[in-house]
Symmetry: C2
Subunit: 199 residues, 2 copies
């Protein structure tokens, strides 16, 4: 190992790369058929293993507005879900709560429109709660465990410390911080920026 490799490994024990998630939708297999006439097809992989951006796009419709050309992420899930920023939710006129992905009980709904049809979700619209995906190896090195809530310093153009950041540990993950675009803009995020857990 050369110095550069060693330096990178040391830095990876301290810093975590930030990612900003734009508004996006998850659908079930049946919803994909109703919206597009066929299952989702992968366009490009995302940072989390097995997850992908689909070629298919939808319009998300709320009482006050709509967003066209919204990303659909695959693979299909057991329940449909729409992840927005608070700014987006206000534009659509939907009072979406801040939740971890998948935690959609008692959340409001929205209508999705695809090339082949419309699907109305009775619930599933959330503002994604900021979180860190982490491998078990990185969790061990950083001294954190699944579901632990930590504070995260951002090394960004408008630096800040996010309180209440949930760590999710799984061998299925790669280690990344996920922010929504309100949070990304608030800290002046640019691609490649790093954060650090404060103990």
């Amino acid at each position: 190992m050369n110095y550069e490799t060693i330096a990178q490994q040391v830095l990876k024990r301290i810093f975590i790369e930030l990612e900003a998630s734009g508004r996006h939708v998850h659908v079930t297999g049946q919803q994909a058929l109703a919206l597009f006439g066929h299952p989702l097809t992968p366009k490009r992989p995302l940072s989390q293993p097995g997850q992908y951006l689909a070629n298919e796009r939808v319009t998300v419709i709320g009482p006050k507005g709509e967003f066209q050309n919204v990303a659909v992420l695959g693979p299909e899930r057991p329940e449909g879900q729409v992840e927005l920023s608070m700014t987006d939710a206000r534009t659509l006129g939907i009072s979406a709560p801040v939740r971890l992905s998948g935690d959609i009980q008692d959340t409001p709904g929205a209508t999705l429109r695809g090339e082949q049809g419309e699907v109305t979700l009775l619930h599933g619209v959330i503002v994604a709660k900021r979180h860190i995906h982490m491998t078990p190896e990185d969790a061990k090195v950083m001294g954190v465990s699944d579901k632990q809530v930590v504070r995260l310093q951002t090394y960004t153009a408008r630096p800040l410390v996010f309180d209440d950041v949930v760590v999710r540990v799984s061998p299925k993950f790669e280690t990344y911080v996920h922010l929504d675009y309100d949070e990304a803009n608030a800290c002046g995020f640019q691609a490649g920026d790093l954060g650090r857990i404060l103990q």
Copy 2:
């Protein structure tokens, strides 16, 4: 003084009320005449003494989009200025830097359209740098001075600590933290929420 009054005075030495500033425009007297055919007229006062929301509204036009019905704040200023969130700036296609209000050297421009005409600003489009307006009395109590950069803990639905918050002290001010809507949404701000300077 009753207990409630005393409690309030003690709390005011510790906490500062947060305010979120939406996108808005400042204009010169000449620009107001060109846009509206008359000087600005006050609709309602803002938290900072002498500042007001005008009855007049403008459309702000950038290379990629426009916002209609944008607030104009009075009184008129020596230079025109457009204050956006990063989200807004992206929508308009303007690469606006993060600056304190009034610091518009080498910033991009935009076109304003009013009822009576259009004005093109050659520069003046900024993302407002977060800041605290503070009275000299509160600055003394809180142990900070003009232009000091502090860290601010928010007591909000999505709590966080903003680094790099500039304190502006003047007898013309009332004491408030000013955030833009990206920052307000990132911390889950609701009207009346408080912050505290971390020393």
